[in-house]
Subunit: 148 residues, 2 copies
C-alpha cells in the first residue's frame, strides 16, 4: 500500500472557508488513491480491506479512494511511514499537523498550523491555488481576530 501510495496517491491538507469554525476555516486532511475507472474495482477492494474512506467517481474518468477521517489517516500514516519513499515527508507532516490541530488554543497557534499546511505546496508541487497563510491572515484581521 505504501508503494502504491508513492505511485498513485496523494497526501495533503486543505483549508476551506467555513464560518461555523472558530477561525473561519476548516482544516481538511486527505489521503487519496487514484486510478482510471477501468480499475475502479481494485480501489473498491482496497477500501473494503482497509475499511476506511469512500470512493468518488470524477467526471474525467478518474476514480478516487478518499480517506478524510482524522483517526483513519493517523493510523494509516503511522503504519505506512516506514515504507514510504516518495511521500514520507508528507506523511510525517500530516501526522504533525493532526497532532497540533487538537492543541490549537488561540489565533497564533492556528497561524502556526496554517504555516505547516503551506508546506504541502512545495512537497506536492501542487498547481491549484489554495488558501494559504497570507490569505488566512487577511481574513483573521478582517474578523478582528488578529491585529495587522
Amino acid at each position: 500500500l505504501a508503494g502504491f501510495l508513492d505511485g498513485d496517491g496523494s497526501i495533503y491538507v486543505r483549508l476551506k472557508c467555513n464560518d461555523s469554525y472558530r477561525f473561519g476555516f476548516q482544516v481538511s486532511p486527505s489521503v487519496v488513491f487514484y486510478q482510471s475507472n477501468k480499475k475502479k474495482s481494485f480501489l473498491v477492494k482496497l477500501m473494503k480491506e482497509e475499511r476506511v474512506g469512500y470512493i468518488r467517481d470524477r467526471k474525467d474518468g478518474i476514480v478516487e479512494w478518499i480517506i478524510g477521517d482524522v483517526k483513519s489517516i493517523q493510523i494509516m500514516m503511522t503504519n505506512l511511514t516506514p515504507f514510504l519513499r516518495l511521500k514520507r515527508k508528507q506523511a510525517k507532516l500530516m501526522l504533525d499537523i493532526l497532532k497540533r490541530k487538537k492543541r490549537v488554543k488561540n489565533v497564533h497557534d492556528f497561524l502556526k498550523l496554517v504555516k505547516l499546511i503551506d508546506r504541502f505546496e512545495e512537497l506536492n508541487y501542487s498547481k491549484k491555488r489554495k488558501i494559504d497563510l497570507s490569505e488566512v491572515s487577511k481574513v483573521l484581521v478582517k474578523k478582528k481576530l488578529l491585529t495587522p
Copy 2:
C-alpha cells in the same frame, strides 16, 4: 517496489522486426517505472539500489527506469509477484514467456509464444498498435517459414 510498480510501472513484451533473428522478430521484454523528471533522482536511487536497468529521459518530461535484461526481469518478477496486486497477471505472463522463449525449437513454438505476447494487450489496455500474431503469421508465410 511492488506497490510502486502497481502504481507507476508497466510490464510488457514487444515484438520488433529484426532480420538478424531466426523468425525475423526480436522478442523484447520490458519492466518500466515512470516518474516526472522532477523526481528523476528517486528513479536513479532505485536503479542504484537494485543494480539493474537504465534511465531514459523522454522528451515529454517523463523519466523512465527501464529493465530489459532477461535475467534481471526474471529475478525481479519472481521476487515481486507475491506482493503485486494490479500487475500480478502481467508478471506471471512475463515469467511464462521468458521461460518458453528459451525453448522455442520451431515456427509453431514461436507462434505459440507470439500468442502469449498478444495477451499483454488486454492486460495492459495498451493503445499503441503493435506487431501481433496475425502480422507475424503473414511475415512468416512471406518468408516461407510457414504454410498459409
